[in-house]
Symmetry: C2
Subunit: 430 residues, 2 copies
């Protein structure tokens, strides 16, 4: 029997190159720049980050070979991942639309973050580093890097925003289980951290502070290198594996999506899923892209201007849609969406009119109720962040019903929610 519920790729369809959209953008991407005052951030980067990644950040090469070793690691991590047709959800919604979702939740650590973590760990080892260091907010990135480091035989240190670190005990233990060293940030391990702890020994921390600590850590140990999990071009390029697989899967069934949806925080998931489709849109194909966001951080609805990527202004300035790097954001369970700025590549395309945005209320009832509908029909437990993709896909499917349009809607489930039941329980009152 040929099933319509799951579309898979054969060995002949394995994706062997990442897609770098830089040469295909409608205009050149505004480069990162230094602020007018203070020391140069740009000059520091080569000492702190992986050279191959910095090279990819500015590459004009359209297709970048995925090293064979990384291809093997992707296979080990369960790639390619299935594309599912949401037949039961369609029935429930009684919509003429056809819904397809990509299963990034089928990941060893539970999210799409492994796609770039494995690549970065590989390059870091090749360049002679013995240790990876990073920051993490929600914890998905820290877990993915701990995993990738462990597989590569590298050490890993994670500076984790204390306010999140302290309550996500299971996720913290998972990082430890992978062998990573995890510090609540601000920590006593860096001078930046110690300064802040002097002011307040229980300082809750912030992503910006954690970035500072990671950078300082890499600066003080030549065997360590700093890794980032979103925003930057090379991260989005690595994540295109998601969209490239999805395109091949649609080819298999001789179909092409009319609407492409995913949730958006810094942009690594949204970019990874949509960029190969955006390439076709730039060439003239009629596709609607929607970034599902939270009113807590509707960065694509902010201003398109140069801003710091972190709270503490340790990074270069990036031209991006931003609500301001000092803006206070409401806490939400979909913490991975809680970021002030959007990846420069996606920001440019938003500015050129290619990407729509919707922001859902930060109490998360609307999105979590739609996650429940998805769970009860399709069976998979989405991460809180992925609930936003689902809500948006359902909204569009309902709109198709209203207009009696048989559109094809593709969305990505970037992670699973097995470690996030607390949020669902509290919001839905289970």
């Amino acid at each position: 029997m040929r099933t319509k519920n799951q579309i898979n790729l054969s060995e002949d369809d394995i994706v062997t190159k990442w897609y770098n959209i830089l040469p295909d953008l409608p205009e050149p991407l505004p480069p990162p720049k230094d602020p007018d005052e203070g020391e140069s951030r740009l000059e520091m980067l080569p000492k702190l980050m992986i050279n191959e990644c910095l090279k990819q950040d500015a590459s004009d090469q359209r297709w970048i070979d995925i090293p064979e070793e990384v291809q093997e690691l992707y296979a080990k991590a369960g790639r390619p991942r299935p594309l599912f047709r949401a037949t039961k959800l369609e029935e429930k919604l009684n919509t003429p639309a056809k819904l397809y979702y990509k299963s990034e939740f089928y990941s060893p650590t539970g999210s799409h973050k492994v796609n770039t973590a494995l690549a970065q760990a590989y390059y870091a080892k090749k360049e002679g580093y013995e240790r990876l260091t990073t920051e993490t907010g929600a914890g998905q990135w820290g877990t993915a890097l701990a995993y990738a480091a462990s597989i590569a035989g590298l050490k890993c240190k994670v500076f984790w925003v204390r306010a999140v670190h302290d309550w996500k005990e299971d996720r913290r233990n998972l990082m430890h289980f992978y062998g990573a060293e995890v510090h609540a940030s601000p920590s006593s391990k860096t001078s930046a951290g110690r300064e802040l702890l002097k002011e307040d020994p229980k300082h809750p921390g912030s992503l910006g502070i954690a970035v500072s600590e990671g950078l300082e850590d890499a600066e003080n140990d030549e065997k360590a290198v700093y890794c980032l999990g979103s925003v930057l071009n090379h991260v989005l390029t690595h994540q295109t594996i998601i969209g490239l697989e999805t395109q091949k899967q649609f080819e298999k069934i001789d179909a092409y999506p009319d609407i492409v949806i995913s949730c958006l925080g810094g942009g690594s998931n949204f970019g990874g899923f949509t960029i190969p489709f955006l390439r076709d849109a730039i060439k003239g194909k009629d596709i609607k892209f929607i970034a599902a966001q939270s009113t807590a951080a509707p960065n694509l609805q902010g201003k398109y201007e140069y801003d710091f990527a972190d709270y503490a202004e340790h990074t270069p300035l990036l031209k991006m849609y931003t609500i301001g790097h000092k803006t206070r954001m409401d806490p939400i369970w979909g913490d991975g969406l809680r970021y002030h700025g959007c990846a420069p590549i996606l920001s440019l395309l938003r500015n050129k009119g290619y990407i729509d945005t919707i922001a859902y209320p930060s109490d998360e009832k609307y999105v979590f109720e739609r996650a429940r509908l998805f769970l009860q029909t399709e069976g998979f437990l989405p991460a809180p962040e992925s609930a936003y993709s689902i809500a948006c896909a359902i909204d569009e499917a309902v709109e198709c019903k209203r207009n009696n349009e048989e559109k094809i809607i593709a969305f990505n489930i970037s992670g699973h929610g097995f470690m996030d039941m607390e949020g669902y329980r509290k919001v839905l009152g289970m």
Copy 2:
């Protein structure tokens, strides 16, 4: 690139029939029977259970068609699941053995239990039932049935041993999230439960008591049917999908395992993985089978005799290896292995010398340390039960190193551990 890390099946290789080993057993399976005293358990069964399942329990048909609708549901649940080569673990162990593991952890609810839950929900609906009722111990079976009921549009009631129900908050909420009604057992919903609550309002419950409540619930509502997640022949038959896929995957790489390993509680996981290979062993092929167990419940090291399947003696007597249905068992984190008896089919084959057994210490340090080694090399987080499969596979791989033997070892990871971090933390002191 042809990867050696992951072996997948194409659409042409989809398994469309379950394998029923009954006609191929070396001698007829001793049938279930009533105890000498009390009312007949066997006569009650057709009123309480799914007729198609009871029919399959006694079928002499070697191959049972998987209904097309169930095939679609399997596809929706991510089947077929990859077979992975544990290359990184092999390197770490420096063993000449080749290790392969099946990824049942890639399941919507996190375990292999969905394979029979989907089939049972399908048959129940076809037979006109509106509600499924069951008991659960560790919670994996209750979650899987809640999931299957939800997808089928059926109601579901789960009687969950109170001692486990009360602390597994996330898993309980996941069942609620699927729309199931979950009761700590003993509950006030049945006369059996009310009797026990009179004695002790905080009665910790037992699997036997929960079985009684489920049976009573089904008896009192003609729209409800009772479902079981292990031990019985039809459950093992549905689970053969695991081993049948694995055999096809080995065919793809022109290999055949010398040693086949999985953990064993009631036998649904062990049976599902091994029975297609046991068929070849019965025909004369030289394969070693090892059931990985806990000293808390080494049922295959018990006596081969008729015993009740539950503590409270509500079930018929089954001829099986048992440590006694009234035996007190130490608590362990791999709670799914904590059962006094082993499925009759596997018990017969054990008795005929086809299946070896090893029981690991119930403090679980030994098995959890090997789960850590697996996590840090292969990247996937196993369920505590699956840690036993891993420990056994590693033991055999080390033995191969000692003897310089290039054996092929196949083992099954029956579930993931994202909801079981507490056990790992407490045992390993993270």
